[in-house]
Amino acid sequence: MRILLALAALRSHRVRTALAVLGVAVAAAMLLCMVMLSAGLRESFRELLLARGFQLRLSPRGTLPFDTEATISDASTIVQTLAAQPDVVTVSAVLGAQLHVEQGGEGVTTFALGVNPAAQGDYELLEGRDAKAPDALVANDAFLAAAGARVGDTLTFAAGYDPQLRSFSGERTMVVSGRARFLYLASGQSAVALELRVLQDMTGRAGSDEVSLFMVRLRDGADVEAVRAWIQEHVPRVDAISTAEAMQRVDERLSYFRQLGFILGAVSLIVGFLLVTTLMTVSVNERLGEIAVMRAMGVSRLHVIHQILLEGLAMSLAGGIAGLGLGLVTARYLNSILSAFPGLPEAIDFFLFQPRSAWTALGLLVLVGVAAGIYPSWRAATLPIAGALHEEAVA
């Protein structure tokens, strides 16, 4: 009976109820977006880091991977040291540099990764052959478009380019053996990958055996933190960063968005709360006579409270469900704005939908709906019956 009464009361003022549900829906949409923002970046980044199964990344001390131009020298010695750790399955050394290709009289500059193709975790081969020969490299679509090249073409790459003299240095002829998708690069960023030794040679780093980064894959079930600590002790020139720590560091860099998400989410809840509580208070004020008669009839205070709380809850639930769809659309729009961040890997999403996000948002709305009904329901339940009847008669 109480549910019937609650729904009937809401239906009896359609416009008012519809507006209130719309208001709650907008608040719910914003809340869902902010919950997705808080969780999305972390989850998205974590999935990206673990995409190829490498749990640890070693970068020059005090830097994040590819954050600066700093390098690690004596890479081979470090690889040997790491290989002695029983939990280490694969070590992939990576060097980052810039290469240039002449195109139409101008130099086309591209980001280049020097890798061990047999043990790399930076790209997925889409077409052709991997860069397993000294004169072979793979390229992404952005580079192929910029250079006007195709798989199978032979191009001359240079490590140095003087824009004034328009001259190249450190040149080497390479064949584009395959087309690849680079996992950690921003969309539209031009990139190629070739053998590590070849890139070291071209950039004059062969002597010092420099690399930018090591990626380390551990055996299943290995204690990542224990291995990290071992590496830190035995290779103190590097920072060993686990997936969790990498996420934490990125979190710190982008903590602003998480906090913004929290603040806006809280504001959405407050707005939703105010809306529902105002509507319920007005609704109760209009029905004081009815409520007084119900109390006179013998309806208990508790049941009056239930009644009013049900109405607030129904409104919040309806608004929450309506806001779900609106929230997903809004999140997609906001994600498209933030995806334009320079240097952000294409695979990263700021707003990642997980069912948990929806349940969290809905749960919070339910709590708010109940809380919003507390004052009006208390008011209704503690109404002095005779006084209310008298005032209604006078009115």
Binding site: S73, P163, Q164
Partner: protein, 281 residues
């Protein structure tokens, strides 16, 4: 003897070179102006010993005097960086890190914009292997991040305004509906539809202006709180939020427009209903 050693001590101090350290480093490490510190490019904790991969046994080590503590710039690009900054004399840094006679860039100051253009051309004509860039061109290139953030903020702002508009409309409709009986009674005693309509709209306008004035105060306080928090969190003098006169004016005007529209919609519903229906008969 101690007194005799003092001049020697001060003479030695005078020979030490000076550095400026960042305020956050000074606070965290307990460094004050006048302190003597040891600097090196050597990584900490046992490196530099023989047999350790990549270690150098001969990293240069210098003692320097802290001559200044430098506050962070209000540079948005630095807010998320937790690294400490130390400023040294160029030749000293080159020696410490083993760069040789190398730098990352030159910064060139000119008298005016005409001089900037002339200097740009001269440098590009005369120098090989590097390019000269106007500062504003670099700023434009590196401001992409903030363009993205600005767009994001604007989108959030629009969404918030839409939500506020719906909320305002809902609340005003409710408040006007609450006064149905009173308005019905006024109509019954002879007040015209126009009078009732304008009464409701004027009331809505007042509520909107008063509410927006309160909102400006709350917004100003929130802005101050945001700045205080983030300046402390990121250890930066950067201002994250500002409340300007045109922002206030925009907010108040928008509230007024929304309030008047909401009041008009609510008033229309009221004046269209027969007075007897309004008083519940």
């Amino acid at each position: 003897m101690l007194l005799a050693a003092l001049p020697l001590f001060f003479a030695l101090q005078a020979q030490l070179r000076t550095v400026a350290v960042g305020a956050d480093l000074a606070a965290d490490a307990g460094i004050a102006v006048g302190d003597t510190v040891v600097i090196s490019a050597r990584p900490p904790a046992g490196v530099g010993e023989e047999g350790v991969p990549g270690g150098r046994a001969d990293w240069p080590v210098d003692s320097v005097v802290v001559s200044a503590i430098v506050e962070r710039r209000a540079d948005p690009s630095e807010i998320a960086r937790n690294d400490y900054r130390v400023r040294l004399h160029l030749d000293q840094l080159e020696r410490l890190v083993g760069y040789g006679n190398r730098v990352d860039r030159f910064a060139v100051g000119t008298f005016d914009s005409a001089a900037t253009e002339q200097a740009l051309r001269s440098i590009e004509d005369a120098a090989f292997g590097f390019q000269a860039h106007r500062s504003r061109d670099i700023a434009a290139e590196t401001s992409t991040t903030f363009a993205v953030v600005s767009r994001f903020h604007r989108a959030i702002g629009v969404i918030t305004i839409v939500a506020s508009a719906v909320f305002l409309l809902c609340i005003l409709l409710l408040k006007v509906e609450e006064r149905r009986r009173g308005m019905g009674a006024l109509r019954l005693i002879g007040l015209s539809r126009r009078t009732v309509f304008s009464t409701v709209v004027i009331e809505a306008a007042f509520v909107s202006v008063l509410g927006s004035a309160l909102g400006v105060l709350v917004g100003w306080a929130a802005s101050a709180a945001v700045n205080a928090y983030y300046q402390s969190f990121y250890r930066t003098p950067l201002r994250f939020s500002i409340v300007t006169a045109d922002i206030v004016l925009f907010a108040v005007l928008l509230s007024l427009v929304l309030g008047v529209v909401a009041g008009a919609v609510a008033a229309l519903r009221l004046v269209r209903a027969p007075p007897l229906e309004l008083i519940g008969r």
